[in-house]
Structure formats: C-alpha cells, structure tokens
Symmetry: D2
Subunit: 298 residues, 4 copies
Amino acid sequence: MAISAADLRGVFTPIATPFNGDESLALCELRRNLARWNETPLAGYVILGSNGESCMLDEDEKLRVLRAARKEIPGNKLMIAGIGEESTRHTITRTKQAAEIGADAALIVNPSYYKGMMSSLILTNYYFAIADASPIPITLYNMPLATGIDMSREVVLECSRHPNIIGMKDTSGNMPKMGEIISDVGENFAVLAGSMSFLLPALAIGAVGGILALGNIAPAECVELYELAMAGRLDQARALHRRLLPVNQAITARWGIGGLKAALEMRGWYGGPPRSPLTPLGDAQRAELATIIRDAGL
Amino acid sequence: MAISAADLRGVFTPIATPFNGDESLALCELRRNLARWNETPLAGYVILGSNGESCMLDEDEKLRVLRAARKEIPGNKLMIAGIGEESTRHTITRTKQAAEIGADAALIVNPSYYKGMMSSLILTNYYFAIADASPIPITLYNMPLATGIDMSREVVLECSRHPNIIGMKDTSGNMPKMGEIISDVGENFAVLAGSMSFLLPALAIGAVGGILALGNIAPAECVELYELAMAGRLDQARALHRRLLPVNQAITARWGIGGLKAALEMRGWYGGPPRSPLTPLGDAQRAELATIIRDAGL
Amino acid sequence: MAISAADLRGVFTPIATPFNGDESLALCELRRNLARWNETPLAGYVILGSNGESCMLDEDEKLRVLRAARKEIPGNKLMIAGIGEESTRHTITRTKQAAEIGADAALIVNPSYYKGMMSSLILTNYYFAIADASPIPITLYNMPLATGIDMSREVVLECSRHPNIIGMKDTSGNMPKMGEIISDVGENFAVLAGSMSFLLPALAIGAVGGILALGNIAPAECVELYELAMAGRLDQARALHRRLLPVNQAITARWGIGGLKAALEMRGWYGGPPRSPLTPLGDAQRAELATIIRDAGL
Amino acid sequence: MAISAADLRGVFTPIATPFNGDESLALCELRRNLARWNETPLAGYVILGSNGESCMLDEDEKLRVLRAARKEIPGNKLMIAGIGEESTRHTITRTKQAAEIGADAALIVNPSYYKGMMSSLILTNYYFAIADASPIPITLYNMPLATGIDMSREVVLECSRHPNIIGMKDTSGNMPKMGEIISDVGENFAVLAGSMSFLLPALAIGAVGGILALGNIAPAECVELYELAMAGRLDQARALHRRLLPVNQAITARWGIGGLKAALEMRGWYGGPPRSPLTPLGDAQRAELATIIRDAGL
C-alpha cells in the first residue's frame, strides 16, 4: 500500500554511498552499513540523496545502489529514492525504475540548470507530470544552496494538492517561509527539516520530522532530539541541540561528504573516500573532527 | 543604573515615527501613540529603528524624536535608541546624544556602504570603539536585508565579550547560525529575534526575546506568543504563530512601512503617511490589509 | 595534430540539439542543420553545450549526438564537445569518448553541486586531472548563472599553465575580471566571450573570439561583428552590436532554448521543441520574436 | 546656462575628501589638491561621491566641502555634487543647496535602505520628483555593490526622458545591460562608466565617458585611454588598459579609500587617513602599492 504524509513523521537519514579505495562502488559495505542503521530508531533512509553523492554516480551505478539497499532495508523502515534529473522524461524513467526496485517514495530535486526559465509555473507543471506518472508517492526537495533556486510558497502549495505528492524536504532553513508553507498545506503534506541545525526550530512551528545528514552518525541522538521537541521539553531539547550543532556543522557546511565519511568511520560504520574532486579529510582535519565528536559526547 | 542582558528578555517594538500629511514630524502623535503602548505588556521600545524611518530623518529631527519619546516612556519600560551612521566618530556622537537624552541603551546597525572593506576585524573594532565611548550599553543590529552584510559569528562572539555590549537584534532569521551564536555567547549577551516570523523558532533554540515590528499593532499577542513559547506550550504557541504570520508579512515584507502605518490606524493608533519615496497604501491595499487583520482575529 | 589556442580565434556556435515532436532525438535534422551551418563563415561548433540541452540527454543520447555531428563537420571547422559531469572519473570517461569519436577539443564546465566544497584548489586539481588524462585539448567553461560558481582568476591562471588547457569560454560578462585574466595568461590560452551581448567589449580588451548562441541563427552577422571589431572599425561594430542585441536577448535571457529553437525555424533551420520542462514558444511569443528578428534586419 | 549630456563627455574623477590626522576636515588640502588636478586634462570632478567618503560626513561638513571646492574649480571644468539621501525631501534640500553653492550638476544615488520597496515605479517617481525640483541637471548613480540595488533598464529609460536628467554613472560593469541602455536612450542622455576597469569596453559599445576613481591619481593616463578608444586605436588602448588595471584594482576593490589616499600621497597629492572604521594602509601594504604603481609606469 502506498505510504502517506503520516508515514514521513520522524527522523530519516540520507545515507552515504560507500566507495572502495579506487572510488568504485562498495556495495557490500553499503549493506553492512544499512544493517547497522537498521538497529537504530531511524524511521527510514534516503538512498541517492545529496549526501549519497548521487550526482557522482552514473546511470547504472544508481540502479545497483538502489537494488543493494532494497535487499537490506526491512519493512518497518521507509526506503526513499533520491532522483535528480533535468528533464521530465528522464525523471519519470528513474522514478519508475526506483518504484520497480521497491522504493516506497521518491525525493525529487527540482531541475535547475536553466535557472532563468524555472518559473513557478514550469516547476509546478514539472512536479505534476512526475506525480501523475509515478507509481509511488513523491516528495519535493528544495535545496537552494545546491540548485540556486528556492522554490516559492506558491509551487509548494500547488504541489501539496496533488494526491501523489506527500511532502517536502526543505534545506533552506528559512523559518518564516517554512511557517507560511505549513500554514498553507493540510495534514496530507509533510514538511521535513533538511538539516539537524534547524530541526528544533522547524518542529516548533509545525514540521513533522527531518531528513538529516547527522542521522548517518548519530541516529539515536537525532531521534531523541525529535522526541524531546515533540514532547515540548524545550530545555532538554535545547541542550541536546547545542551539543549536536558542532558535529553537524563539521560533517556538512565545513567538511561536506569528506567529513561525513570520516565521521562514519569514527563511529563504527564504513566510510571510505568520497569521489574526486571531493577529497577525504587529511590527518589534521581528522584529529580535529575526532575532538569535535568526542566533545559532543558521541 | 546601567541595564544588562537580563533586561532585554521579552518583547520590544521598534515604533513607527508619525508624520503629518505634509511629511513633517508629528511629535504630539508620537507621544499619544506611546501613551497607548505604555498600557500594553511590551518590555520597551526601539526609537529610530528601521520601522521608525530613521534613515528618513535629518540630524535635528532625530534628536527631537528621542526627546519627545523620552518624556513619554515610563521607568518600567526600556527606551532603546536606534543609531545608524557610517563613521565611528558620528556614531559615537549620536550615541552620546541619545544617552544624554536618557535612552537606556543603543541599538547600532553596522556600517555598510563600503561593503568590501567591512571585514570581521573592522566591524569588531568599530563596535569596540563605540562600546568604549558609550555611556550606555549597546546592542548589535544585524540586518543583512538592508545592509547587505551578514555579520559573522566571529564578530558577534568577540563583541559579546565587551562588558558594554549586551546583546544583538538579528533579523537574518538564520536559525543554524543563531543557534551557534547562542551556544558561543554566555548569559551576559542577549540574542533577540528581529521579526515575529521567527520568534517562536528562535525562542526554541535559546533566544530570550524579540524586537518585533508586529509589536506596534499587536503588542499583547506578541507577548502572549513569547510567554507560551517560554512555557513550552508549543501547540498553543504554534497556533498563535500561524494566526499572526499573515499580519506580520503584510506590515513588513509585503507593504513595509506603508502597511505598518495603515495597520496602526486600523488598530487605533496614529498612522499617517511614510516619507516619500515610500508610499502610503492605496484603497484596494487597505481593504486587503483590513481583511488580513480581521482574519487574524485582531 | 592537436589544436592550439590560436585555433580558437573567431566565432563558434553552441548548436541546438533537435528533437522530434515527441522529444526524441532527431539526428537527421541535426545533420541537415549542420550542413547549412557549414556554408557559413563560423569557425566551428560546440556540440552538447548548454544551448544543446546537454543536461537533458542521457549517456547514450550524448554519444549518438557526437557521432552524428562528427560525420557532418568538415575538416576546416572545429568540433568541440561539451562535457558536464560532477565527478572527475566520469568527466575523464566522457572526454575520452568524445576524443575517440573525433572531437577536436572539449569544453568542460566545472562541477558545482557541492558548491561550498569547490575551492580554487579543488577546481584547479579537477581541471589538471582532466587535462592530464584527455587525449584532446580542453577549455574551461565558466558559467556562473547556471553553476552558481564564478571561477576565480587564480583558477584560470593556474589552468592556463597546463599545456593541454588552451582556453576558456566565459559567460559571466565581467569585463574587469576578464581584463585581468587576459593580462595574466599568455598567448597560449584563448579567452572567448560566451555571449554576443559582450563580444564587442570583450574583443576590445583582448578576447580572441566568442562562442555565441546567436551564431545558431545569425552566423554571418556574428562573424561580421567580430571582424569589424578586430579591424578597429568601432562605429560600424557598435551599430551592428545594437542591431543584434534584441535578437540575442530574445533567444537567451528572455526565452531561452524555446526562443532559440523558434528562431532557428524562422531562419530556415530545423527547430522543434525543447525537452520538457522547458517549453516551446506560444503563438503570441512567436509573433513577437518574428518582429524582433525582422526589426534587426535578419 | 545649464549643462547638457554633451558636457559629460570625457573623464571625470570623484575626488577624495582630505582629513587631518585626527580625521577632521582638511579643507586647505582639498583646495591644494584641486589646484593640482586643475592642471590636468580632466573634464571635471564629482565632489562628495563614494570615493569622497560622502557618507562619512555630517550635514554641515558636506556644505563646507562643496563651498571649498567651488572656490577652486575653474569655469572650464565641471563641478558635480554627489547626493545620497534616503528621503525625497532631503535629497531635494541637498540638491538645492548644491545648486546654490554653484555645482553644475548633481549625481544622485538611489535610496536603498528599504530595498524590498524600491520598485522601478518608486525609483522613477523619486528621480522625477528630484529632477522637477532641482535647479541644476541631475544624473543617476547606479551602484549595486554599495546599494544592493541594480536599477532596471526601465528606470533608466524613463528617467532619460526627463529634460533635467542628463545622464548616468554606472558602476555595475554589466556590459550587456549597458549596451541595451545605450540603445534605448537618445543623444540627450550620457552613459558614463563608473570605473576604469571597464572604461574601454564601455566606450566600445557607446558610453561617452567615465567617472573614474583612478582619475584621482592618474588623470592624464585616464584621459589618454579615453582618447585612444574614441580614435579606434584599440591596440594601444588595450595596452594602456592592461597597464592601469592593477593600479585601479589596488585603489578600489582591494584597498578601497585607504589605498586611494595612500596612492594620492605617492603621486604628489595630499592623502591623509580615511575616516574610521575605514583604515589607512599599513607599511607592508604601502610598499606593495608603491610597487604596483611603479610597475604601471606611473
């Protein structure tokens, strides 16, 4: 049965894609990592998201990653496939492939190469075309830092009315706008924070969960933060928020995927190198990262 | 006795500056407006802030506004003077004048005309020079939308160490950064949300109050939102947040000072025209604004 | 024999990729279009550039377009292959494929998805890795409007020292920076204007040619503008520049690929639709475009 | 008799405002500097421009600077007064004062504090109100780097139709847009490059002159560049352009007013300190600047 907005409550993580030392896909390590994440209270995974270096994989590699992940993800955790193509036709093709492989939903970033042409109307039509054709529910992915486009409130409101569009991951961190969007859309559209750095404020104004890079290396703590906030225990939530912030900063804005993969290793998962031109952390950076992680009590 | 960061807890409003029909200063109306705000639970006022059209006033007019306000503000409400000059020497002069007139603190926006030169070091030195010279405590004013400069975490941290710099109004709405700043600074530095649109999320991560344009026309409701959030009553806070958002949007991003002044009139204060080139609302806009205000139950 | 910077003098055009009514590749039309461009004084073509909707094609389609173009391009015109991948390994693979098919050079846009990580060092290393591995010379492609990254003067200077990096297409239109870059690099590195809208000013400060969308529909006029400028006949150049500007604006910033393809049809080439979510021009837009083209005397 | 667009042909310089060691106005030095500039082929001066630290002066100081300059500027050189106020009423007051003192024209930067409100309509109405009230012709000043607003082609076109608005200084360096504007406006509206860094390309497409910070320290060379370009001697113009670029960069983007004033001293004018928070150059920077100036053959 198709999932709905209610299934998107909670904390998800966009998992890293493991590579061997020569940057080739390390699918065994992917499955081993998932096996370990399966023991955590995470609500599910995004496969092939930004943190999964999706844009670094070729068409065939993407399919192999989805298939490997599918085998390892149990029924009680959602599998969300990240999709990022510029053309409507290829997005539909990839979404159908993901559905066939068994993804529960697709997280679809907007096209952005021809920025000047991406009007609200074009973007809405784009998502409607995907949603009409997709066998599985889709969620919007607003990521202005990578795409240079901050989808308008109008696009989100329009899309929220399509029965096969069930939510949005928003990494903009724009709370006034997120507040307006949450007021606009009904209960059948889930707004998810795209980073631990604003999960707590987002939950305060009505977001229902998050898709958090930090979930890769601190899944239990991310879920705890979510639950404290939902219970209105703001003092404790605030303290945990402050404790996790430096780690989150280290594996995202500061060191990106290289930092995330080094942190994975420190926390017992397989890390490995990112794909070039991204670079792994150097020794000094690893030492600093280790300190940041230790200081956070992880 | 000089005020401290603890005195900045709560909700302040940057009051509008009333003009007559010919755009000359309407100081009687200013005092009458203040008399009515004095009956509300607001913690105090910013005189000559952005919403006070400070940049529209000449040097003499600014002094007259400060003096008129001083006469009307009672001892149990703070009077904060907005200062915005490009040179260190003039900022010091204006701050001393405000202190002499009796302001409790000064809210000082960073210089911004020579953007390329405004390094973190220059900005820190600037605020230190002001703080050293000022007879009253000062607060930083970060307003990237107007200044084109988003003061760095480093500037704020450095400034927080000066005993005469007691807080910051931040209008950026950048929650990740605000969270880091709150973690950085101690209890002797108050971080204040610069808009109702992110007051609730900001309080969730540790801000201690807000300086809110919306406080001009909905002071009681803004204070209620603050108190609900501080009490951890998130469901009620969220509902009030949603109710107020459209009004806030109307009097800030959408219609600016023209909208704020029209709303003041609808809510029983004196409004009057903004100074040209800003324009008053037209009839159709006023009708729409009235509907927005009514829909919010104000 | 490998081409050099001197071969990049003159006017090139990034050709449109024709699609049938169902958006499938129209390779016969591609070859017919090329046959007609071959009769013009253009110095060569970029296949699979931004105007060629490269990002809209899948891996297989890209190879088919390159092969079809190769068959039609005569020895006296350069064939430059556009490449745009995020990972070093895939960029190398695609560049080798293009070389094998017979491209004379590759025009390589910088990776941009992980903007925060794309330091000058990372970008320089990226281009060096490609240049080391590529059997054919490569040129940088700086396109901040699409990528959100404006490659620094330092990156360009470093790259200009690699013997297998022979030039740059710059669409930023930043004349002060272009002037500095031209001063930096020697004669073995060709700087090319990325739009007719600043070809004349760019030539004035030392650019040696252009890769111009407008070359698709007004090749003779673009070459004439180039030659007038090189001859120092500024009055005539200026008059032609003014005449062509509105057409250029119509097929780029204003209507993008949809406008370009409609203009191709009006000028006797095959146009066809762009790929969705890009849209073809409506009737009213086509009428307006026809007027703009006629007014320019084309 | 009022000047017209034709009088704006050639090279103007926005002169620095000299301060004593204690940052007080040094009016004697101002007059001595002007006496020396009067011996150069400059067409005139902007007093109280951005390079004159206008925003650092109070109301009274601005009047004193204008009066001192007026006494020293001979009839064969234009005196243009820079004006920068946020309100229509104060801009009119300042413009009338400048006219009374004897300025030939006023260069008026657009209001920018309330960026979101500064629609094309508001800006056009603003300039029309000023132009209607001003006894002297006015010119637009588009300076997006400082104001955060890039005035639209529509605003400029509308303004060009007012008989008392005779030109524009544009510091954006946006050649495509400048080309369109020059096509739009007639001969009664002069478009002036706002920096030496794009004077040559701007002249190539039809600008008629420049208001150049570099004119402070290299007036003869700037005029020579202008004349070479107007004569179509592009090779020589290009060589001079390259020679001057590093000096221009040093006294503008890199070191700003501090660099400009240090360079003035090296070239025989009075420099002195900028006003704080701007800083004078340190010893190492002065040594580097001296090398840059020497390398340029100045």
